[in-house]
């Protein structure tokens, strides 16, 4: 099986789905000849032409609003927003329109659209190129929010998202884009939306995370004593959330640390901690811990590693939770 990085796996998924379903169109800023600023759409325009791989004007509200129209007219738009910070101008179209059409038309109009968005920090990028807004969109009913952390999952989840009948935001952690390769099947497969993955099994404590921090958590596990047995869960889909996998794990371990890059307040860690106290109250040995970004604006890159949940902070939190 060929080994691919995250960029290549997503590229392959796009190419294969465009081949399979001629309704799929890729659109966005610089996605054509340039192949996107991260080269995720590289070669697609050469293969599928300018009608299906479209360099749009520089307007995010336009990209999402027009994608909604394409979806209404039975196309399968896969718009790209160049960086998560530029979801800002598209917010209205995403949250007030894409997310609501099914409900407000009682199912008469639906929006099968998958918005691809590079996300997160850690790559020395400029302002508004390093944020983690997944909680904002998970808090907006009607949107599905995905964030794979591995090439295998990325391909399978993207295929599932494009085929999903509802609007999906597909967040791609930049820090993982080229960080490693793994075997990715050439054939068609889906990784279902809404299924978490147990990355490693353990009995003492559960760590729940998604996106690039998966690798910070793995690094933290390496630094913990050998007799500490951690169960690491990669949520993969942020909404709808696989609460069963979390609950089952915490009922076993009695302890949980949630790790994410986004700010703490009203972040997904708060939601997960609540799910745990509702479903695992009598199993808990310690308060659920959150290792997250701070409640501040994401700093420029000189301070980004002080902001992000890097492994030393995770190690400390796991130790504190275990010692409680």
């Amino acid at each position: 099986m060929p080994e691919l990085n995250l960029v290549q796996a997503i590229n392959q998924a796009l190419a294969q789905e465009m081949e399979r379903d001629e309704r799929v169109v890729v659109l966005g800023e610089d996605v054509g000849l340039n192949g996107g600023v991260f080269r995720v759409t590289e070669g697609l325009q050469a293969k599928f032409g300018r009608e299906r791989v479209v360099d749009t004007p520089l307007a995010e509200s336009g990209i999402i609003g027009a994608s909604i129209g394409l979806a209404m007219a039975d196309m399968r738009p896969v718009p790209e927003i160049q960086f998560e910070g530029f979801l800002g101008p598209a917010y209205d179209q995403l949250v007030n329109h894409a997310a609501r059409f099914r409900t407000r038309t009682r199912g008469a109009i639906t929006i099968p659209m998958t918005v691809r968005v590079p996300v997160g920090g850690g790559i020395h990028a400029p302002e508004l190129h390093s944020d983690s807004p997944e909680a904002i969109y998970s808090h907006s009913p009607g949107l599905k929010v995905l964030m794979p952390s591995t090439p295998y999952d990325a391909k399978g989840m993207l295929l599932a998202a494009i085929r999903d009948p509802d609007p999906c935001i597909f967040f791609e952690p930049k820090r993982v884009y080229r960080s490693f390769k793994e075997e990715v099947p050439e054939g068609d497969y889906e990784v279902p939306i809404g299924q978490a993955k147990v990355v490693s099994e353990g009995d003492d404590i559960t760590v729940v995370t998604w996106g690039a921090p998966v690798f910070q958590c793995l690094a933290a596990m390496d630094e913990l004593p050998d007799d500490v047995s951690v169960e690491l869960i990669d949520l993969r889909t942020i909404y709808p959330m696989d609460t069963d996998t979390i609950i089952e794990s915490v009922r076993k371990t009695g302890r949980c640390v949630v790790v994410h890059e986004a700010p703490r307040t009203a972040g997904m860690g708060a939601e997960i901690a609540t799910v745990i106290q509702e479903a695992c109250f009598l199993h808990l040995e310690a308060p659920v811990q959150r290792v997250t970004g701070f409640d501040t604006v994401m700093p420029y890159y000189k301070l980004e590693l002080d902001y992000l949940p890097e492994s030393p902070r995770i190690v400390q939190a796991v130790r504190e939770c275990l010692a409680y």
Binding site: H124, A125, R313, Y324
Partner: protein, 375 residues
């Protein structure tokens, strides 16, 4: 009944100094004096060198992503020089460094910004500009608001806001144009049409023949100038500012120029644009024509040029030393500017550099850690 024409429009293009360094003397009247051109040309040489060195800093890992200004210096300097330093206000994008420097911004601050340090945006009170703006097309509304305040307070001040050709596709641009013209605010919309928005050429970006004609839809005067000609840029901007200062409202100026470098250091323009196109525009480089002009006047020579280049090297070396001499900010700075007064829960995050409850308050765990906070 016969149809009648209800609206007709034309867009004028102004060039005063052509690519060969030939000046249209009648158009040049009451624009720049020879001394001013020599001064501005020296600035051009210095900031071109700054730009090249900034590129090298990125390549050698001493700075993050940087967008070169190369080729667009005449647009920045001609317009910046037309605005009154200390009175007027600049609201930039990121490709007009030289205009900001003319208005007193310390150049090391631009480097600091691209070195990932917010202190590069900490504009001193006596410099009239906002920091460079990364989200495309957003700052023109802020410029409109600033100009509106000047109008409300009847201050004889104006705003010049800068943005690219691509930025005119954003909805915010159109809202700014409409606000500015309906409220008749003293704002000059200065579009640096450098032909590209990353990999997207102007003709893919928009179906309109010129960018300037977009102004007409908002009832705003719109014109095109040769953006590599400081005389034309200066004249158009100064006239627009004069009118705005007298209550005549906003103007849109499209400066036709070219991005001679990659979009940023993260870009590779060879992927999407023809080297022949770049070569053709290289001949229109503002450095070439302004030098030719000054030489024809006996105001410039090889010797003078070498002197200015040596001076540029010294100045830029000093700027880099200043930028690199600034120590990494304290992690507390992540928190200290979020609000005027830091909320209690944020103070705890700052003082512990932790977000988990047991890390913030170790007394709960029974663990002794060195991270006990200062509550």
């Amino acid at each position: 009944m016969p149809k009648k024409t209800v609206y007709k429009a034309t867009i004028e293009h102004l060039q005063i100094l052509n690519e060969d360094g030939k000046l249209d003397a009648s158009l040049a009247k009451n624009t720049l004096t020879d001394e001013e051109v020599a001064f501005l040309f020296e600035q051009m040489v210095i900031w071109r060198h700054f730009d090249e060195v900034a590129f090298k800093l990125q390549r050698s890992g001493r700075m993050g992503t940087y967008p070169q200004n190369k080729g667009q210096e005449a647009a920045a300097l001609g317009s910046g020089f037309a605005a009154k330093k200390g009175t007027d206000f600049l609201v930039p994008c990121y490709r007009e460094n030289a205009a900001l420097f003319l208005h007193g911004l310390a150049p090391h601050m631009i480097l600091l910004h691209w070195m990932g340090d917010e202190r590069g945006n900490q504009i001193p009170d006596n410099v009239n500009c906002t920091p460079i703006s990364i989200p495309i097309g957003t700052q023109m509304l802020h410029a409109t608001g600033i100009a509106w305040a000047y109008k409300i307070r009847k201050e004889p001040r104006c705003v010049v806001t800068y943005f690219g050709d691509g930025a005119t596709s954003e909805g915010d641009f159109h809202e700014a144009m409409n606000f500015a013209s309906t409220l008749e605010v003293p704002c000059v919309f200065f579009c640096q049409n450098n032909q590209w928005a990353i990999s997207v050429p102007r003709e893919v970006q928009m179906a309109s023949e010129t960018v300037a004609q977009k102004a007409l839809a908002y009832g705003m005067p719109g014109m095109q100038v040769d953006g590599n000609d400081m005389f034309a840029v200066f004249k158009a901007t100064r006239d627009a500012l004069d009118r705005a200062r007298k209550g005549g409202g906003p103007t849109f100026i499209e400066a036709v120029t070219y991005r001679l470098a990659d979009h940023t250091t993260a870009d590779d323009a060879k992927r999407y644009r023809d080297v022949k196109e770049v070569e053709a525009w290289t001949k229109k480089d503002p450095i070439i024509r302004h030098r030719k002009f000054l030489e024809s006047k006996g105001l410039w020579s090889d010797k003078k040029h070498a002197e200015v280049e040596a001076k540029a090297k010294k100045i830029v070396d000093e700027i880099i030393k200043t930028a690199e001499g600034i120590e990494k900010p304290s992690p507390a700075d992540i928190f200290n500017y979020t609000f005027a007064e830091i909320p209690e829960q944020l103070r705890v995050q700052r003082d512990t550099m932790r977000t988990n409850s047991l890390g913030q308050d170790p007394s709960q765990t029974g663990l002794k850690t060195e991270h006990a906070h200062t509550r």
